[in-house]
Amino acid sequence: MSGLDSSAGLDEVAGSAPARVRIQSGPLAAPNGANGSAPRETGIGAVFEARDVSVHYGRKRALASVSLRIPRNRITALIGPSGCGKTTFLRSLNRMNDSVPGFRIDGQVLYHGHDMYGGNVDRVEVRRRIGMVFQKPNPFPKSIYDNIAWAPRNLGLKHGLDERVEAALRGAALWDEVKDRLKDSALGLSGGQQQRLCIARAIAIEPDVLLLDEPASALDPIATASIEELMHSLKGRFTIVIVTHNMQQAARVADQTAFFSLDSSAAEPSGTLVEFADTEAIFSHPKDPRTRDYVSGRFG
């Protein structure tokens, strides 16, 4: 299953891993399938465009009418208090919510102009291009090497696997710490190392986008610092969307920041997007009073 015309090309360049192959322009569905959503003009460099997105879990509305555009090869942070729907929004960007019972989405999420929830979109293909790193490090109970190599092997990227593993571990700034024990269990690594391993695992298949769901919240400050440093080095190679509780973290790493909040004025309280702008603007002169209160620490 693939609209990946360039997947053969990926194999060839695996040896020189820093060379990136642009895979994101193909449609998410099989190329011969009648694509319900013809590519649309979404503005220059927008990877995602959310149009009036609302999410329900069963009868409960978790997120109401979010519209925003996430630019390519930048770091976009989603901040806000607990329960404001930022993780829900993030998980809607690679359809991880599909497996949640009662999940329903309204509006449109366009990914390079393709409707992500269109009828002939394949979820597996979506996630092959849009990787995700979770709050708690979740390495497989396999060796360090196999943690990285497993997905490429299954996706048919078997050529130059050793180089691919090394490149991924270098990319996640973990190579020097683990190069002598690649055969050891990944579960023996520290929490911060495990999380960097998960990032390495995600970038090993060279996705287009990395979604990070509070990647540092389970880590100590030193490990957090190394993850943040890592994000800076990954910027430019990937479009990164990060959810964080930590405002300082957003201020340190993100180019754009979206502030989500719980809108309790409506009859049905639900999370919603309050303000989306350059990080600097959000933190120095926010337009919305709710943003101002949040970033100045008055609530949340």
Binding site: N94, M96, S99, P101, V124, E125, V126, R127, R128, R129, G131, M132, V133, F134, K136, N138, P139, F140, P141, K142, W150, A151, N154, L155, S185, L187, C198, R201, A202, I205, P207
Partner: protein, 291 residues
């Protein structure tokens, strides 16, 4: 309210109705302990009796020759019948468990689990009768029919046991694999089954132990056999231990009775060893998952 008042400065010895409550507490504790001891005692008595009466019948000749001196063909026959039964039930059972934990939505999960539990409660004589009607009536008894009956007995045990260990595999593993763009079946093969393998083997061994001793279905579908020599033909009735025990114990002949005890000891040792091995395996695989 004044009845419950107490003097906080009094010595910390029982006051009020605490004596009575303590007596009740003791009573309940001793009762529960006694019940537990009784269960162990029953097992110990059964094992002791079988060993005491069966040990005298045991000999190399008893284990390796056919009728009238030994039960060799029955040991081989039971091995074959159970092996075929497990070869049928294990893949099916594991697939059912995988369906329940990996593929079924919440709605299919509960009715199927209920069905498996009901199936587990089916009287083995009913299963025997069913297979008799299906494969034997109007045809001939066969080891294969016995294997089918035992497979039906094993199936819910393997499916439920495997399901339990598959549920122990953390959901974060599935999410991690999903987020890498790997299809679910690949995830099952590459991540989920390897983590759960120990538990699945355990469930299977326990099911084997249970099936090996089932007698009722075999009396119906695999009981008229020639027990003088080993037979490996699955399409005829072949000797097996449970039916042998049953027939020998019916004989009006004290040596037959002694040999029935001997055969029981062989069967019991096999089942106990298998169960113990399964527990050890399970403990080891649990600690591996939990690491």
């Amino acid at each position: 309210m004044s009845e419950t008042a107490f003097d906080p400065t009094a010595p910390l010895t029982p006051t009020g109705n605490l004596r009575r409550r303590r007596a009740f507490n003791r009573f309940a504790e001793y009762g529960a302990t006694a019940a537990a001891v009784l269960a162990v005692a029953v097992l110990a008595i059964v094992i002791y009796t079988v060993v005491a009466r069966g040990a005298s019948a045991l000999s190399l000749e008893f284990l390796f020759t056919g009728e009238p001196t030994g039960i060799g063909p029955a040991i081989v026959g039971t091995g074959l019948i159970v092996l075929v039964a497990t070869a049928i039930a294990m893949p099916l059972g594991v697939l059912i468990a995988l369906y329940l934990t990996e593929f079924a939505g919440g709605r299919a999960d509960r009715p199927i689990r209920l069905m498996l539990d009901l199936m587990n409660g089916l009287p083995s004589i009913v299963i025997g009768l069913f297979v008799f009607g299906l494969l034997v009536y109007g045809k001939t008894q066969s080891a294969f029919a016995g294997s089918i009956a035992l497979a039906i007995i094993e199936l819910p045990l393997i499916a439920r046991g495997s399901q339990e260990v598959l549920l122990l595999v953390p959901n974060s593993m599935r999410e991690a694999a999903d987020a890498l763009g790997v299809s679910r079946w690949r995830t099952v093969l590459g991540v989920i089954l390897p983590s759960a393998l120990g538990g699945i083997v355990t469930a299977t061994v326990l099911a084997v132990a249970r099936a090996a001793g089932e007698t009722a279905p075999l009396i119906l579908v695999c009981s008229v056999f020639d027990s003088r020599g080993v037979s490996l033909n699955p399409f005829e009735a072949i000797p097996n231990i449970p039916v042998t025990i049953f027939t020998l114990s019916e004989e009006a002949n004290p040596t037959g009775f002694a040999r029935a005890w001997g055969a029981s000891l062989v069967l019991l040792s096999f089942i106990l060893l298998a169960s113990l091995a399964a527990r050890v395996l399970l403990a080891r695989s649990r600690s591996k998952v939990a690491r």
